[in-house]
């Protein structure tokens, strides 16, 4: 074995030793429900574990994970509940029924609700069921007979229900108008606690002394059961943020029957065990997905976790505690172990290199090029030092934003909050947007008209080039460059004035020529807005293009013109055979610059029409700007930036490839 391999193996085995020490497996079982798990329930000792999922399925498992029975209502299962002994199961379904099932999953009775049933709860003794529906009504049912004992209008939709008590069985509701409501067994409202946002999940201890609720603003609250006093309220430990679309899989919680522990599952793949005294985190675990349902057995020993992608996990509290400790140990071992391993490796390697012949030889051979390079770099360090300010600035203000733009075009970018990876969804949205395609069409119009407009500076450059009198020639060139002194914004605003419907130069000229019927509100009418924008700058003698073309003309060797004269070539022949081919590099540059500027045209449109009337003059860059500033849709704006970047890059490469100069030209 080669010495280096030996050292590497040593290091590897050491790392493996650290990694292998704790085991991360929780004892329990795992299954896949086939679709999002919307509800879970456990009997008091965890011997019956019920899973309700989106694919119209209720399944009961033993605590070892063996399937007891399955039941299929005709709609999504929104809620399940189990009695303490596991003998009865209640099911709330989108098919507008509450079902009661026995220990074998056979239907005992069904109660027909006028609306979709959202959730259901069953008392520990299995005598009462409470169901809430889309019609804001809570119903209190007798399990033995299936009769409705009372119903009450909650005045708002409730998404969560819990129940407690043995003789006097009281339901608790969490509603979308941010309230937690406690009702008496007779259907009277006992108290009301006002929270800050829609209640997503609610649970109660078996004696009713403690109530916990999770709300849409990402907070959890602990409420006293006897007087509705809010004891504490705090954000979820991972600062989960919810929005109404994520109502079913954002925050879920369950309370142990003694009210001492809270199990909290979040959309950020986290599961927390909290101390209900102060909400401090006792354990945290990866949940394996967006938590969409949670259950905790009355003895607190069994945990059931369901996720939006259909995974169901059953854990035991002992297993979870062991895993938590193991994870803590692993973290500690890694923070100590990896530096220690590296130090050991460096030590061993340096001993090997210094003390043994083979090591010395190895060092001599392999490190020579690197050492030479590093030595040169050290000797020339002054160059790197002097380049540092430039490079640092460029990295911060140019490279970082460019990479950030490319990356964030695949996200739903929220600079002050949470950013989600959404794949190509922003590009789909962009390509399906009508504004975007109108914008691309207008950008293409601007680019093509921009190419055609280059004929004007070419004409003027040729005319100036043919002036005999050198002073006049200099004067002409200078005067045509004078518009450069006008700031570009002023130049555009002056054209807005020229197009003014009442005092615009254009309409005034038309009127004084007797062409009143040609008068238009040029920038305000759908048909004329885009042509008017294209016409801005008439007669389109761009000083920039003129300078470049004229510079090119001056650079053509005089011998070529002399030769043409001797051959008796006409001026047209001279123009097409000498001037144009010799100007190819200049035109290549101007075409690229015109294309780039047209694709990102913003200022011209923003200052004239702002994209209007309606969408007539939209450009992609304008839509990008609006998306970022008006709609705070930074992800979509980044996707547009990335798209335009690719278009511009592609156009530039095509241009460089196909618009080739016939004569190699150097100045």
């Amino acid at each position: 074995m080669r010495p280096l391999t030996r050292v590497a193996l040593l290091l590897l085995s050491f790392l493996l030793l650290i990694a292998a020490m704790p085991s991360l497996a929780q004892d329990g079982w795992t299954d896949h429900a086939g679709d999002s798990v919307w509800s879970l329930a456990l009997s008091a000792d965890g011997s019956v574990q019920v899973v309700g999922s989106r694919n119209n399925r209720v399944a009961a498992y033993r605590q070892d994970g063996a399937l007891l029975w399955e039941f299929h209502p005709e709609g999504t299962v929104w809620g399940v509940a189990v009695s303490g002994d596991g003998a009865w199961t209640a099911v709330a379904s989108e098919d507008r029924h509450v079902y009661l099932l026995d220990a074998f999953g056979e239907e005992v009775w069904r109660y027909r609700s006028p609306r979709i049933v959202y959730d259901v709860a069953m008392s520990n003794d299995g005598s009462r069921v409470v169901a809430i529906d889309e019609g804001r009504v809570a119903r209190y049912l007798d399990v033995a007979s299936g009769d409705l004992l009372w119903e009450s209008n909650l005045r708002n939709i409730a998404d969560a229900v819990a129940i407690y008590g043995s003789r006097a069985i009281r339901p608790i509701f969490g509603t979308r108008d941010s309230q937690v409501l406690l009702y008496s067994p007779e259907g009277q409202r006992l108290w009301r606690a006002q929270l800050d946002d829609e209640v997503l999940s609610v649970d109660v201890s078996s004696n009713g002394a403690t109530v916990v609720a999770a709300t849409m603003d990402g907070e959890i609250a602990l409420i006293k059961g006897n007087n509705a006093e809010i004891v504490w309220q705090m954000p979820a430990p991972d600062e989960t943020r919810c929005n109404p679309r994520q109502r079913n899989y954002c925050l879920h919680l369950a309370l142990s029957s003694d009210g001492g522990r809270i199990l909290l599952g979040t959309r950020y793949d986290n599961l927390f065990l909290l101390d209900s005294a102060d909400g401090s985190v006792l354990q945290s675990h990866p949940a394996g997905g967006d938590v969409s349902a949670l259950a905790l057995s009355a003895d607190g020993e069994h945990w059931l976790i369901g996720t939006r992608d259909g995974q169901v996990r059953s854990w035991t509290a002992t297993g979870a505690a062991a895993a938590w400790r193991a994870a803590q140990d692993l973290r500690r071992n890694l923070t100590i172990g990896i530096p220690a391993a590296l130090a050991l490796f460096v030590l061993l390697a340096s001993i090997w290199v210094r003390r043994t012949d083979s090591g010395r030889r190895f060092w001599q051979v392999t490190s020579r090029p690197t050492r030479t390079l590093l030595l040169t770099m050290w000797r020339r360090r002054i160059a790197y030092v002097l380049l540092t300010p430039t490079v640092v600035l460029l990295l911060i203000f140019n490279y970082y934003p460019a990479l950030s733009g490319l990356y964030h075009s695949f996200t739903d970018w929220n600079p002050t909050g949470e950013t989600l990876w959404v794949g190509t969804r922003q590009f789909d949205a962009m390509l399906n947007s009508n504004y975007f395609w109108v914008g691309m069409k207008n950008a293409a119009i601007l680019a093509l008209s921009g190419f055609l407009k280059l004929a004007m500076p070419l004409l003027v450059a040729e005319l100036i080039f043919h002036i005999r009198h050198s002073l006049l020639q200099y004067l002409a060139r200078t005067l045509f460059i004078v518009p450069l002194v006008v700031p570009s914004v002023v130049g555009i605003l002056l054209w807005v004035n020229i197009y003014d419907p009442t005092i615009g130069l254009l309409n005034q000229t038309l009127i004084s020529l007797g062409l009143e019927h040609w008068v238009h509100s040029w920038l305000g009418e759908r048909a004329t807005a885009m042509p008017a924008i294209v016409a801005i700058g008439f007669p389109w003698i761009s000083a920039f293009a003129l300078l470049i073309i004229y510079g090119g003309l001056i650079g053509i060797p005089q011998e070529l013109f002399d030769a043409a004269k001797v051959d008796g070539a006409s001026w047209w022949k001279r123009f097409t055979r000498i001037d144009l081919p010799m100007l190819v590099p200049q035109f290549r540059l101007l075409l690229i610059l015109t294309f780039i500027a047209s694709m990102q045209e913003f200022q011209l449109i923003f200052l004239t029409t702002g994209g209007g009337p309606s969408d007539a003059t939209y450009t992609p860059a304008l839509e990008l700007y609006y998306n970022a500033t008006l709609f705070s849709n930074f992800g979509l704006a980044s996707a547009m930036g990335t798209f335009l970047f690719i278009v511009i890059l592609g156009g530039t490469i095509l241009n460089l490839r196909y618009v080739r100069s016939q004569v190699e030209y150097e100045a």
Binding site: P389, N398, F480, L494
Partner: protein, 291 residues
């Protein structure tokens, strides 16, 4: 045919050619004059309106200003002076930084040999291929997160960073043409690299440094979308955006003072071009050849 008639013939053709030549030259000058007039129409309009009031513009559009409303200019100046001061100071600060960084880096790339020189240089030039639309929004988010949004630094730092790229390109090309002997003799006399830079390279390179400065100053003065996005406080706003908002800021709705304000906003560039036109032209044409 006698030699005399041949000579006469030749004289006649020569005279004809001369006449045709003059005619052509006249035609060229006339068409250039017409095109020049059309090109300058907006500027003429601006100066014309800046001396009128709304009554004169709406009532007698074509009539010469009577009375000449010279007082439009103090009004326009009052509205623009803050913006102009801001623009000139931010652009000026950025120009100084760009000139320093671009000449220094250009010098390093042109005169020093060190590992990865071309790699770093290409890495810098590659930025010329990155369009503004790609970096606009991320850069906006960056300056917000750096906490410099709505301060002059939000303009000065990104302008400097972006502006040095072209400056480095121009400076490197120029420094590469300086004779090596100058630097060799400097080294023999014991000058350090930094001394060689500011005692030999910089004094010989004023033309290119002025070119870089003027091109960057014009580009910064004309920048519109970036200050629009990052500066919301009108007191520290620059000219290009100020031009679009002074109507609401100062309640100027009359066209006369507005046109006077446009004219005033033009003055800084006018002064700059009076002194630096040929440096600017050099920048454009030499940049064109390199690209």
């Amino acid at each position: 045919m006698s030699t005399l008639t041949m000579k006469q013939d030749r004289q006649i053709t020569k005279r004809q050619a001369q006449r045709r030549e003059n005619f052509q030259q006249g035609l060229i000058l006339l068409s250039l004059l017409a095109l020049l007039f059309l090109t300058l129409v907006p500027i003429i309009l601006m100066l014309f309106f800046s001396l009128k009031d709304n009554g004169q513009i709406y009532g007698r559009f074509w009539a010469a200003p009577n009375p000449v409303r010279i007082e439009n200019y103090p009004t326009g100046y009052e509205a623009m002076k803050g913006y102009i001061l801001n623009s000139v100071s931010y652009a000026g600060a950025s120009v100084m930084l760009v000139v320093f960084l671009a000449s220094l880096s250009g010098y390093v790339f042109a005169r020093l040999r060190f590992p990865f020189r071309e790699t770093i240089y290409l890495g810098i030039l590659a930025l010329l291929m990155i369009p503004g639309v790609l970096t606009l929004i991320p850069a906006f988010v960056l300056v917000s997160q750096l906490g410099i949004i709505n301060t002059p630094w939000a303009l000065i730092l990104p302008w400097t960073s972006g502006g040095q790229v072209f400056g480095i390109l121009l400076c490197r090309t120029f420094f590469a043409t300086l004779p090596q002997e100058l630097f060799d003799s400097g080294r023999i006399d014991g000058a350090s690299e930094i001394q060689l830079y500011y005692k030999i390279a910089v004094p010989l390179s004023w033309p290119i440094i002025v070119t870089v400065a003027i091109m960057h100053l014009v580009a910064s003065y004309n920048d519109f979308i970036w200050p629009l996005l990052t500066i919301s406080n009108s007191d520290i706003q620059v000219v290009s955006v100020g031009l679009t908002e002074f109507t609401s800021q100062y309640g100027i709705t009359d066209w006369g003072p507005r046109m006077a304000a446009y004219t005033v906003a033009t003055v800084p560039l006018l002064i700059l071009f009076m002194f630096g036109m040929r440096y600017y032209i050099r920048g454009i044409t030499s940049g064109a050849v390199k690209a």
